[in-house]
């Protein structure tokens, strides 16, 4: 029994120490968990988000809510199968105050479940799944990026304004693509147009030739697509090589031409897309942001860096409202809900479902830039269907 007493003693001591440290936390650091892809296809996006986040912290004197920031990072590998385990590492093991992530929607959905179950604050700096601020919305779940619906809806309006009546859509058969097409269709058909055919191909298949042949046979007024990355580059080149560019206008959500214009070469020239960020925005915040980012990282920032930057701004707004105390979650949430974020994309507020209410820009590809043409829709809010909050 000697041994047992000993163990009890040690346990009691460690509990007491824990309690002591627990109270000491009030003037401790704020713990930020970054769950982003560091390897794989989305590695560059994860890096841009991290850079953006850290840039805001640096501009804020290296602090959030007046405290030093301690980062805990996990590479989510964009693998939904590992998402729950990875989120648990940050939330249960490291006990972070806020978890920021991620790029891949499937991973973000699993993360959101863990964060919600543990009542941990979560900020999504990219994943566009409509569900995150729709049926799965939660008081502790925020987003600084977009819903798949938003840019697509804006493009539906633009296409209708251009006088197109019949449109064919094409995307990969996965959630992001299908939500994007839904958004486009909603706005386009409200304005009197008709989506005559919705075509899909399995993700991440890139053999588009059969669809181009179908499009040529259907002869619609325009084509709307949702593709990203290498698949986007290939599609645009194939579309041009099939001679369709000159007769049937092509439109897409902004991801079509983000980071892919160099690979597209001439085929990408003049493409019109919609997104919540663009090159050549006329606002001082963006100019300063780009300059600082280029200085710090020797890189041009992109939309992902902006979303990371705004995630830090949003959390700062919450902490400021809570007197800098990361444990006062209710006050932080109130602060974040009320915040007006001075983003490089243009100022935005959050909807009731915690998604940005933001301007969506119409952009045209010029060289490797997506130059702003006009604001397609001002202060567009996602309808947040299914969100009971």
């Amino acid at each position: 029994m000697q041994l047992n007493k000993h163990i009890i003693g040690v346990t009691a001591l460690s509990l007491a120490l824990g309690a002591a440290f627990g109270t000491a936390r009030a003037d401790d650091k704020v713990k930020v968990g970054l769950m982003l892809p560091a390897t794989g296809t989305f590695a560059a996006l994860g890096a841009a988000i991290t850079n953006g986040f850290k840039q805001y912290v640096a501009e804020n004197g290296g602090k959030l809510g007046g405290r030093e920031v301690e980062y805990y990072t996990v590479d989510d590998e964009s693998d939904p199968a590992k998402a729950t385990e990875n989120a648990n590492k940050l939330i249960k093991r490291d006990k972070v105050d806020v978890v920021v992530g991620t790029v891949h929607s499937g991973v973000a959905l699993a993360m959101a479940k863990v964060a919600r179950d543990n009542k941990t604050l979560m900020i999504v700096p990219n994943a566009g799944a409509d569900e995150l601020t729709g049926p799965l919305c939660a008081p502790t779940l925020f987003r600084t990026s977009f819903t798949n619906w938003q840019p697509a809806y804006a493009m539906g309006k633009v296409a209708a304004q251009k006088g197109h009546k019949n449109v064919v859509t094409l995307t990969w058969k996965y959630a992001a693509g299908q939500q994007s097409v839904e958004g486009f269709k909603e706005a386009f058909e409200q304005a009197g147009g008709k989506v005559v055919k919705e075509m899909t191909l399995p993700f991440p298949n890139v053999e588009f030739q059969p669809f181009l042949t179908e499009i040529a046979a259907l002869k619609p007024d325009a084509v709307y697509v949702f593709f990203a990355g290498a698949g986007a580059a290939k599609f645009v080149k194939d579309y041009a090589a099939a001679g369709l560019r000159s007769s049937i206008p092509l439109y897409g959500a902004g991801f079509l031409t983000d980071g892919t214009l160099e690979a597209m070469g001439d085929a990408g020239k003049g493409l019109l897309t919609t997104l919540h960020y663009a090159d050549g925005l006329d606002n001082k915040k963006d100019a300063a942001f780009r300059l600082n980012y280029a200085k710090a990282y020797k890189l041009q920032p992109d939309v992902y860096a902006v979303q990371g930057y705004d995630a830090a701004q949003l959390y700062q707004a919450g902490l400021a409202a809570a007197g800098g105390d990361p444990t006062k979650q209710d006050a932080i949430i109130k602060g974040m809900e009320a915040a007006k974020i001075d983003s490089p994309r243009g100022a935005f507020t959050l909807s009731k479902a915690h998604n940005p209410v933001q301007d969506i820009y119409l952009r045209q590809a010029e060289g490797t830039q997506n130059k702003v043409v006009s604001t397609a829709i001002k202060a567009l809010a996602d309808p947040a269907r299914g969100c009971k909050m």
Binding site: T200, V206, Q209, P210, A217, K219, A230, E262, A263
Partner: protein, 288 residues
């Protein structure tokens, strides 16, 4: 679907099938004929595509890039065979799987270190950068047709080398019974080195030719790996003609599957594989 569209879709299917044969041809040699399970086949394809990108940027010409790239790929293949694969012929398939899976990781990491993670495009050579008008809105790029021609030439050349030359005979004999071939005084090690190098070069060539169409991007090898195995297995392991027939079948199944059965387009190729293997468990054209 009207008749003109049907004809164009048939052309799409043929052209895609031939492209698939090109991609699978290196695997036909290494897996089908030498009997090595080579999961790194896709990586060699990826390496070819990146070689095309780097060399085209440096020399300004894809043709020159291919002329330079093929000997590089041959040397690289011969080196890998000497350093790694030659130790595995007598081992079991699982160890080949482990080695070649490891190679995928190594090559992807090297690619990331050397060229980065961005998507890059490769320009089509000027003399092939044209298209042929098919209908009032649709044209067909000449470059795709040129690839098809290269594929047909390669298929014939491969068949000829494997079935009709002394080297081909030794390769086939070596796969059937290595020890006996060695006992007959043939330097089987050298032959295997040559064949493996050829396999790597074919995969790299496929990558180089596909680069202007598909762009070059991280993990691009993964996309071709599975379909290549499907083709070699459907065709009958060890048969060049079989692989060609299988590639065309897959091309047709994929093209018409996407148009006619969009709901299950992702499965059509595998359903075809299942049906073929039920009908002929050894593949369409079993060797011998």
């Amino acid at each position: 679907m009207d008749f003109a569209t049907f004809l164009i879709q048939t052309l799409n299917a043929l052209q895609y099938g031939l492209l698939l044969f090109l991609v699978a041809s290196g695997l036909t040699l290494v897996f089908g004929i030498m009997g090595i399970i080579n999961l790194a086949h896709g990586s060699f394809y990826m390496i070819g595509a990146y070689l095309a990108f780097v060399l085209t940027s440096a020399t300004g010409s894809l043709v020159l890039a291919i002329v330079l790239g093929i000997p590089l790929a041959l040397l690289f293949g011969a080196f890998l065979e000497w350093a790694l694969f030659s130790h595995l012929y007598k081992r079991d398939h699982l160890e080949q799987v482990l080695l070649t899976y490891g190679l995928i990781l190594v090559f992807e990491e090297l690619r990331s270190l050397l060229v980065g993670n961005d998507v890059h495009g490769v320009a089509i050579p000027a003399f092939l950068d044209a298209s042929i008008r098919l209908t009032e809105v649709m044209s067909y790029p000449v470059y795709r047709l040129a690839i098809s021609v290269v594929c047909i030439v390669l298929a014939v050349a491969l068949y000829f080398v494997i079935q009709r030359t002394r080297l081909g005979m030794m390769i086939r004999a070596g796969n059937d019974d290595r020890t006996m071939v060695e006992a007959l005084g043939i330097n089987i090690n050298m032959i295997y080195r040559v064949v493996f190098a050829l396999g790597v070069a074919l995969a790299a060539l496929a990558g180089m030719l596909a680069a202007p169409i598909s762009s070059v991007f991280p993990n691009m090898g993964g996309q071709v790996l599975i379909i290549s195995f499907v083709i070699v297995v459907i065709g009958g392991i060890g048969s060049v003609w079989g692989a060609l027939v299988a590639a065309l079948i897959v091309g047709f199944a994929d093209t018409f599957g996407k148009v006619l059965l969009p709901e299950i387009a992702g499965m059509v190729v595998y359903l075809v594989m299942a049906v073929v293997l039920l009908w002929r468990p050894e593949g369409i054209l079993k060797k011998g």
